[in-house]
């Protein structure tokens, strides 16, 4: 009961409601614009959050996350280009249905299923995050090390693209975290006599570079792309018949999305693809998929929004990000001096339940905005890239500079932008780099402390049941892509 009251607290705080309002609005705009999305947008907004208190800052980031994930559907349905990668599966049926003159119905179903998926996942978050946090009390240094390794291997196997390339990217991210003074012995590593590097490389220049600047370079190669927007009169709420046809799909996809979200991987994208394919498998009319099936839209949209709450579970309970955007949120928590993990649940329940409540409200808010404002948001897609991206560059540069008022940070951002572009071009996902960078200190710190505990005996890791379980799960995660490709060949 107390926790429920804590969850409702944002409703009674005018400041939090204003933050939620603008966060949701901003998230929708970011979601609608192809190439931006909640991850890049979250990274851009991070420096601005320094003017807010920690709760307002995280509420802002989570509302952007929830609304941005939904916003991608508007572009997917109206211009056949996913606003966010998580909305890729929505294009498959959303656009064909819009072409049949039913854009309003398609958007209505996307809005309802996204809201249901989002709320479902917040309920999962409220119940499971504290349980996971309780379990984490049993964790010592070896268990945390094994958990971080499990997180990285999961990311490699479930994430986009080649698992080996993802592993390289993850290892590279951890390597970046080793730049600067060694946190245990204060010995310089990879600093090459540059004083600014002694403090290490900050999260923000890397995150903004890898997401925003690399996307700017990607957009510079896509200037000849022409978008055709389907006309939209108004968003229509689904009919009774639509509900009858899709309620099972929405619930199933909400469950799938929440589960996939909990796993440390590229949450929404994978969740929506699985949600979509499961909707097709269970459908009575699978032949309609790809031609404008309402179930296809519901399956994809409920799943990708359900992944938002799911991905927050390991982020808050363990400090292991469940997706690219939660990696940005985790960065936000760290720069505001909040260390996620079991202690957070014990010491600051009002902070956590405030976030849960804010996510719940954000889901309701984007429903309202989406339902009444989709037509306006659709117009945002008409902002030409030649005007939009130079503006984003200006914000990126000032935002990155603002954190430590160092021009070196801006150059680091540009370096990672160029690097990120080439990484993406050759099939290396940039998400593992961020997660590796965030987990780097945890991985190295827990490994070294474990070795002190074990007196340098590596085999002692195998005597710890929880650590051993995570190592076995890591091996399964690594073997999973191999098994999948063998199955495909058969």
């Amino acid at each position: 009961m107390d926790n429920l009251l804590l969850m409702l607290a944002p409703l009674f705080s005018s400041k939090l409601m204003i933050v939620l309002f603008f966060g949701t609005l901003f998230g929708l705009i970011l979601g609608v614009l192809p190439g931006l999305g909640p991850t890049t947008g979250g990274a851009l907004i991070l420096p601005f959050t320094m003017t807010l208190d920690p709760l307002s800052a995280i509420v802002l980031l989570t509302s952007i996350y929830c609304a941005g994930t939904y916003g991608g559907a508007i572009t997917a349905i109206l211009i056949n280009t996913p606003g966010t990668p998580a909305a890729a599966a929505t294009c498959l049926d959303g656009y064909p249905l819009a072409q049949k003159g039913e854009a309003g119905r398609a958007l209505g179903m996307a809005t309802v299923s996204s809201t249901v998926g989002g709320i479902f996942s917040v309920i999962i978050l409220v119940f499971f995050a504290p349980l996971l946090a309780k379990l984490a009390y049993e964790f010592g240094q070896p268990e945390y090390f094994a958990l971080a390794i499990f997180g990285l291997t999961m990311l490699a196997s479930i994430g986009d693209g080649s698992p080996i390339k993802n592993l390289i990217a993850g290892a590279f991210g951890i390597l970046i975290s080793t730049i600067g003074k060694d946190f245990m012995t204060s010995i310089d590593r990879f600093t090459y006599g540059i004083n600014e590097l002694s403090e290490g490389i900050g999260f923000i220049p890397v995150v903004v570079g890898l997401f925003a600047i690399s996307e700017m370079l990607t957009q510079s190669t896509l200037l000849d792309q022409v978008f055709k927007r389907v006309a939209l009169k108004a968003v229509k709420l689904p009919s009774l018949n639509d509900y009858k046809q899709t309620w099972k799909t929405i619930l199933r996809s909400s469950g799938i999305g929440s589960f996939i979200g909990v796993l440390p991987a590229e949450g929404g994208t994978v969740a929506s693809l699985i949600g979509y394919s499961e909707a097709k498998r269970f459908s009575k009319k699978p032949e309609e998929f790809g031609k404008g099936s309402i179930e296809g839209i519901a399956g994809a949209e409920a799943a990708n929004n359900a992944a938002t709450g799911g991905a927050m579970v390991p982020t808050l309970a363990l400090g292991i990000p469940g997706s690219a955007t939660t990696a940005v949120i985790l960065t936000g928590l760290i720069i505001h001096g909040v260390r996620p993990g079991p202690d957070l649940f014990r010491e600051q329940p009002e902070f956590l339940y405030g976030i849960f409540g804010a996510m719940l409200i954000a889901n309701v808010l984007f429903f309202i905005f989406g339902f009444f404002g989709a037509k306006i948001f659709a117009r945002i897609t008409l902002v030409p890239n030649k005007i939009l991206w130079p503006m984003i560059f200006a914000v990126s540069v000032c935002g990155t500079y603002s954190l430590s008022q160092s021009i070196i940070d801006v150059w680091i951002m540009i370096f990672f932008g160029v690097l990120g572009f080439f990484m993406r071009r050759y099939g290396f996902s940039v998400v593992p780099v961020i997660i590796g960078l965030i987990l780097g200190e945890l991985v190295e710190g827990t490994l070294r402390q474990s070795l002190v505990i074990f007196d340098g005996n590596w085999l002692m890791f195998l005597t710890r049941p929880i650590a051993l379980t995570f190592f076995i799960l890591s091996l399964i995660a690594l073997a999973f892509p191999l098994l999948r490709s063998k199955k495909k060949k058969k």
Binding site: T51, I168, M184, T185, T221, I387, P390, S450, V452
Partner: protein
């Protein structure tokens, strides 16, 4: 379709060192090897202060892992060649060039001026020829951002020919 086939055939006939798989793997291994050599220059901690392993051991292990995994992807690419990427357009190189200009101008002249010049340069090269919009992205918007950061976030931008006028 024909173009893709032609490109695939052309790619097959390329010497191995011109293929993306080789170039990417070579660059990763080359840089990793240099970094690996650097790790041997890190200071060594006396045993009494050492916590578990030497500070160089962890980055060394990571670099060996990266090199090994890169060799695996190169080996696998022989069986399954990578997707052929389209040639990068002129606008990409101009955008990249603008980043270099940005770094040089922000270091030598002015941070704000660098943002303005880059914004106008990029917008123009991406096809915007209307003066009002060029002024919007190059002057009006950066001024708004500048004032926002200056007043709300209390940020002090680095000195330069324009920022000095503002601060004075």
């Amino acid at each position: 379709m024909n173009n893709v086939r032609k490109q695939k055939r052309a790619n097959k006939s390329l010497p191995f060192f011109f293929k993306d798989e080789f170039k990417v793997s070579f660059i990763i291994i080359f840089i990793s090897t240099i970094l690996l050599i650097t790790t041997f220059t890190f200071d060594i901690v006396p045993p009494i202060l050492n916590r578990g392993i030497q500070p160089a051991a962890f980055p060394k292990a990571l670099l060996v892992l990266i090199i090994s995994l890169t060799l695996i992807i190169y080996y696998l690419s022989k069986k399954k060649p990578w997707k052929i990427e389209k040639k990068l357009p002129k606008t990409f190189f101009l955008t990249l060039l603008s980043f270099i200009f940005f770094v040089v101008i922000s270091k030598t002249l002015d941070f704000f001026l660098a943002i303005s010049i880059l914004s106008i340069f990029v917008s123009y090269n991406w096809g915007e020829k209307r003066l009002f919009y060029l002024l919007l992205v190059g002057i009006i918007f950066p001024v708004i951002v500048f004032i926002f950061f200056e007043t709300i976030l209390g940020l002090r931008f680095p000195p330069g020919i324009i920022t000095n006028i503002y601060y004075n």
